[in-house]
């Protein structure tokens, strides 16, 4: 139990880092209403680009910016494959994911399966919780900034056009919206955030592995769905929705940390992610059925 409590701050930090990825998934899954599998590789792209840049001596913000742009390029490619080349969405995501896996390994990481951040330049001490107390605050600030930017962006004309595209494609075109463009832009922003999250993860861990980000879509979706399950009743306000994703991500990592501390075989962690999702997704359906049955029973006694 004490171990678990000691591990809690780490869980929160991980939750915050991954919440940026989960926000990216929220954009595709909830706003654009598509399932984008590019994220499983663009997460690693972000981390790898950031580490390579930092090892080359570039500043942290510049490295992270480039990671973001690399992720956006990946999303752009998926968008082009889907909209202008007519490849089904799921397949477009998988194809970019495969292309990116090779690019990550050969072109960015230079053939090595993992890449360490050279310790000589500890620029991003800020996220290293053990050594700096500000790390949590900085991360909180960063995620809050991302949420703020997203909140503003989806209130703009172009942001509204993206939301409209996700809600009703045909209507959007009838209202003069280039739905190819909005979908590509949404995918680019989403994957940019995923890569940004990957760059933070790489800095937090001090290394990136080619397998990092595998299964990211499940973690991101779990965060989105946990957030929705617990917080959607509070308010339909867009800012609340975005914050619920962040909280969902933190809750996910707390459950995860608890499971590890409880002594769960590490090999079961992927299954755990899937089980959490199954529970969260089926909970409302089962609860509704249960509630309905109870109500019917009540009605008969009244009659």
């Amino acid at each position: 139990m004490l171990n678990f409590i000691n591990a809690l701050p780490g869980a929160v930090v991980q939750g915050l880092i991954w919440s940026i990825m989960a926000l990216g998934i929220y954009i595709t899954f909830k706003i654009l209403d598509i399932a984008d599998l590019t994220v499983d590789s663009s997460f690693c792209t972000g981390g790898a680009v950031c580490i390579v840049m930092m090892n080359m001596g570039y500043s942290v913000p510049l490295s992270m910016l480039l990671a973001l742009l690399a992720g956006m390029a990946a999303g752009f490619l998926t968008g082009i494959l889907h909209s202008y080349m007519g490849i089904p969405m799921i397949l477009s995501g998988i194809l970019t994911q495969l292309i990116l896996w090779s690019i990550n390994l050969v072109n960015i990481m230079g053939g090595a399966a993992n890449l360490a951040l050279k310790n000589s330049r500890k620029v991003f001490r800020l996220v290293n919780l053990a050594k700096n107390d500000f790390s949590l605050l900085v991360l909180l600030g960063l995620t809050a900034a991302v949420i703020g930017v997203l909140y503003y962006f989806f209130g703009t004309e172009i942001g509204c056009a993206i939301r409209a595209t996700g809600s009703n494609d045909k209507m959007s075109r009838a209202q003069g919206i280039n739905t190819h463009f909005t979908r590509i832009l949404g995918l680019a922003i989403s994957n940019g955030l995923v890569a940004l999250s990957g760059s933070l993860w790489a800095q937090y861990r001090g290394a990136i592995d080619i397998s990092d980000g595998k299964g990211a879509i499940v973690i991101g979706l779990a965060a989105v769905i946990i957030g929705q399950t617990f917080f959607s009743k509070i308010s339909r306000n867009f800012a609340v929705q975005l914050f619920s994703v962040l909280l969902g991500s933190i809750i996910y990592f707390i459950i995860y940390t608890a499971a590890v501390n409880w002594g769960l075989n590490m090999g079961y962690l992927k299954m755990l992610a899937a089980v959490i999702m199954v529970v969260m997704l089926s909970f409302p359906v089962i609860a509704k059925k249960f509630h309905f049955k109870k109500k019917v029973k009540g009605d008969t006694t009244n009659a």
Binding site: F153, G155, T156, E157, I158, G159, C160, A161, R163, A164, S167, N168, K170, M171, S172, R173, A174, Q175, G176, I177, N178, T179
Partner: protein, 264 residues
């Protein structure tokens, strides 16, 4: 105004499911024309409207609107000149977006969308007044999601969106077919009012012969992808369902077979 010249459209060409939807249509509309389009199932009415709207390109022929060549223009660019209402109330509106957001989207049709606010306070007041003219109480529910509205309310909202920017051409694709008779009548009256107020040029596809006769100054009837009847002016005014059926029998050599079109 609208000039459709020698337009052809075949779906799935060269396959077993090949369907010649439009086989050589020429149609010229004058400014202010309100044309009703009638015909049986599969006559090509909706296809003709979709060709004008740019949902798919024409195989042959040209389409120009007020001197603007639409033939190769993508759908979202044509939207700048067109107002569209669909058969399915779900198609014209987005369930997860709010009522005033719809009007904001429509007011930006044909404009570049940038990083300015998607909707601002001054607009809301304007939308309040516009919604009030519908007399459906929507002006008091502006921030409600459209998913909570009925089919008739959604069609009325779509009509308002379609006519908001004074389109060069209003395309109505059986926009009352999915509504109950009473609501359909209300939406038709509203349509008539909006068209008259702004003196719009409009094309209205309908399955209802009586509506096709009552509304508009011109009526065209389609069969097998061609226009077989074109009635306007005085002749249109004195038209009855019986005369129309008789004319149909004369021109096509068969009787009008669609049950839906015979209703009322």
């Amino acid at each position: 105004m609208l000039k459709i010249n020698g337009v052809y459209k075949t779906f799935h060409p060269g396959t077993v499911s090949e369907k010649k939807a439009i086989c050589g249509v020429d149609l010229h509309l004058k400014p202010g024309d309100f044309v009703t389009v009638i015909g049986g199932n599969g006559a090509g009415k909706s296809t003709l409207l979709n060709l004008v709207a740019g949902v798919f390109p024409a195989d042959e022929g040209t389409i120009t609107l007020d001197g603007i060549n639409l033939t190769h223009m993508p759908e979202h660019k044509r939207a700048a000149y067109l107002g569209r209402v669909f058969q399915d109330p779900m198609t014209g509106t987005a369930a997860t977006m709010e009522i005033h957001e719809h009007l904001a989207l429509a007011s930006r049709r044909g404009k570049r969308r940038g990083l300015g606010w998607g909707i601002c306070r001054a607009e809301r007041e304007d939308y309040f007044e516009r919604l009030k003219t519908l007399d459906l109480g929507l002006e008091n529910r502006m921030s409600q999601k459209v998913g909570t509205l009925s089919g008739g309310q959604r069609q009325a909202l779509t009509l308002l969106m379609a006519t908001m920017k004074q389109p060069k051409l209003l395309l109505l694709d059986e926009h009352t077919a999915a509504l109950d008779p009473k609501t359909a009548q209300k939406v038709l009256t509203l349509t008539q009012k909006l068209i008259e107020d702004q003196n719009l040029t409009a094309m209205m596809v309908t399955h209802n012969m009586q509506d096709a006769i009552t509304y508009g100054n011109r009526l065209i009837m389609m069969k097998d992808g061609t226009i077989i009847l074109d009635i306007e002016g005085e002749e249109k005014k004195h038209l009855t369902v019986e005369i129309l059926l008789e004319k149909f029998a004369q021109t096509s050599g068969s009787t009008f077979s669609s049950d839906r079109a015979l209703l009322s």
